[in-house]
């Protein structure tokens, strides 16, 4: 797009201008950002090409550490996808009006994360060429099949939730945006499916959105509970726990809230949406993050106290390894830096301002990622029977460059999907927000102008 685009495009209101201008004009920064993400993805693809060619031997996984960062990264992505349900369902059904401008961001993140999670799990397969055997020879008794079913269900519901939330705005884009390329016009025309803001349509949309908001809730809980069962159905130390379901779900909500805060900060800055994603939103999200972290802390204590008190066999070895052994630095970084300190800091009002909150959220996100590493890998290194007479490489797990490249490119893909969706569709609801939270926004526009 040319720089003149903005001048040619006329907006009906300042609000439309604020929320739609980034759909019309493309900055150099945006292009560079996309190029960077694509570049990372190409490196990841090359790493995956090597993995397909030579087998999983290019990874650091071996017979004992048979799952590595692919699986922990998969769990992480499933975790952050839960944030969609937090906003579209929990906050919405509880009539938290303030959260409305954030619903779409959360749904976009949820859809992107769940797509990435599905891809990562295929990357982890030793025989991706046999992917369809999962359908051909399906065994419903296997927790993996439960996971496949629930993830695909959640993917469909998340896409629907995103779509119905954005539908009226697509129609608005179709009607109001004139200075856009033909393919974009066509895209809006097709995806708007003849939406005309007819009262009947609106009524139907509200009904569907309510049904989905309720339907997504059990699915969201199930998706991460079932993922926890991939571990809890085995005898490994640290996994053989009845606490694992709620532990995973609560951790996921915490990580998801942190991801949303971080995304809010970036989007607000890049798209100049200070009047729409306000300090009040950060304040509220900060409080929500404390609440979710406290719940997670509770399940953390549950998860570790019992085994640490009893110190039985391999379970005790596993705990020792985490608390004072070779995983101790990572463990304490995760527990202190990613959980305890954020809770303490966030108790102070100043820390709930956008920048400090975004920084704290980044630590929470990092902690959440490494926490999943600590859940998956050390457990596998403490089998019941001793590990003897094996090659040195079987004893440790230090991910190879291929694994890091693929993992980093999964993040690049996540950001790519999010960026493209934000670029194509308005990220803050145009109509809805205007009606529902008009006062709060206008108040903030005034406030921002003053300051």
């Amino acid at each position: 797009m040319k720089k003149t685009a903005l001048k040619e495009q006329k907006f009906e209101s300042p609000r439309e201008k604020d929320l739609l201008s980034h759909l019309v004009s493309t900055s150099l920064k945006y292009k560079l950002w996309i190029a960077l993400l694509l570049l990372i993805n190409f490196v990841g693809m090359y790493a995956y090409y090597r993995q397909v060619k030579y087998g999983l031997v290019v990874t650091a996984m071996r017979d004992y550490t048979s799952w590595g960062i692919y699986i922990s990264n998969f769990v992480f992505f499933v975790a952050i996808s839960l944030v969609g349900s937090l906003f579209s369902s929990i906050l919405k059904l509880n009539k938290n009006e303030w959260s409305r401008p954030l619903i779409r961001i959360s749904e976009i993140i949820a859809v992107a994360a769940i797509i990435c999670a599905s891809v990562i799990i295929i990357i982890d397969m030793g025989r991706p060429d046999r992917f369809f055997y999962v359908i051909k020879y399906l065994r419903i008794q296997s927790p993996i099949i439960w996971d496949v079913i629930i993830i695909s269900t959640y993917l469909v519901i998340s896409i629907l939730l995103l779509y119905i939330s954005v539908l009226p705005d697509i129609a608005l884009c179709r009607d109001h945006l004139t200075d856009i390329p033909k393919w974009k016009k066509k895209l809006y025309r097709i995806t708007a499916i003849n939406w005309s803001n007819h009262p009947k349509q609106i009524e139907k949309l509200k009904k569907v959105s309510k049904i989905l908001a309720i339907a997504v809730l059990p699915v969201a809980f199930a998706i991460h509970t079932v993922t926890s069962w991939l571990f809890a159905t085995t005898w490994r130390p640290g996994w053989d726990s009845t606490n694992l379901g709620p532990y995973f779900v609560s951790g996921a909500f915490m990580a998801g809230a942190a991801v949303i805060i971080f995304a809010m900060y970036i989007i607000r800055k890049q798209l100049k949406l200070k009047a729409y994603i306000t300090e009040i939103h950060f304040e509220k999200m900060g409080r929500l993050l404390v609440l979710l972290s406290l719940v997670y802390l509770y399940f953390n204590i549950n998860e570790y106290l019992g085994p640490a008190f009893k110190m039985v066999g391999v379970e005790g070895e596993h705990i020792t390894e985490l608390f004072v052994g070779s995983y101790a630095p990572m463990y304490w970084f995760v527990q202190l830096g990613g959980l305890i300190f954020p809770i303490i800091f966030l108790l102070f009002r100043y820390m709930r301002k956008p920048l400090p909150l975004a920084i704290i959220s980044m630590f929470v996100i990092l902690g959440a990622w490494f926490k999943r590493f600590l859940i998956v890998i050390p457990s596998l290194q403490h089998p019941y029977l001793p590990i003897q007479n094996v090659d040195e490489s079987y004893l440790h797990y230090n991910p190879t460059w291929e694994e890091w490249a693929i993992t980093i490119s999964s993040f690049a893909s996540l950001l790519l999907i999010i960026t493209i969706l934000i670029k194509l569709f308005p990220v803050i609801p145009l109509k809805e927000a205007k009606i529902e939270s008009e006062t709060i926004v206008e108040h903030n526009i005034l406030k921002n102008e003053e300051s």
């Binding site: 999983l56 017979d63 496949v148």
Partner: protein
Amino acid sequence: MDDKNFNTDSRRKFLKKLSTGSLIAMSGLGLYSCKNSSDKKTTLLTQEGKLVQVSNSEIEEMEHHGVSPKEAREGIPGQKFVMVVDLAKCKNAKKCINACDKHHNLTPDRPYIKVLEMKDNKKSSPYWMPKKCFHCDNPPCVKVCPVGATYKRTDGIVLIDNERCIGCRFCMAACPYSARVFNWGTPPNESSNISYSPETSVPSKIGTVAKCDFCPDMLRKGKLPHCIPACPNGVIYFGNELDDTVTNGEETVRLSTILREKAGYRYMEELGTKPRVYYLPPVDRLFPFKKDTQENNEL
């Protein structure tokens, strides 16, 4: 062993065996000629090393390892295989590992059998524990497999179909005994043109799981799994639970008697996996415990 099935060696069976032995000769010497014309004769090498002429019409096209995929999933009728490992006799000679590696075409870095140095507590003496797949009756690996690539047969054996395995490695995470290995890279024999059967586990395939299979191809022939005759000390007993007999190739004993008298146990009974491998405690040992001495290593 249940010998009933194997004593009535028919002519057909003889030829089948003959062709098994001569498979290598056929492919190696290029003597495998057209088998459709009944007049032609093929020279075959018998197991005893003699060359014999056999009419082509007598030669059946051999499925290299005997059974159909369906039979390989069902198991050998009338059998319930069971293994007893006498820990009092093991001196870590590693002959079982070598025999297993050889017949399953394995590289030494990822054997199906491991001989572990065990020590139950600080004060008790260490002992060697040969460990293979326990072929559990309540197998955690089979329960978690999303595609039924690993399965339990009527004869008690747990097998892997590496033509179905998707390489998710959930079974490896689920197995509490670390019995399973993975083909992380290209296995050495993957490109060989032996036709695959889950009963032989050969050839291994990249990106799939493998483990001890109790050598069902040998069992079908009425022979013991490779590791058992290879053991110089007769550590491993094998047999049919329904017959209540187990043998180590030299000595045949009653399963119930030996388990009762020698206080046989299964490893980690408390997990409820119901292994088909029993251990006899390392008491009254034949050999003193020696850690990887020259004698042991030269093998």
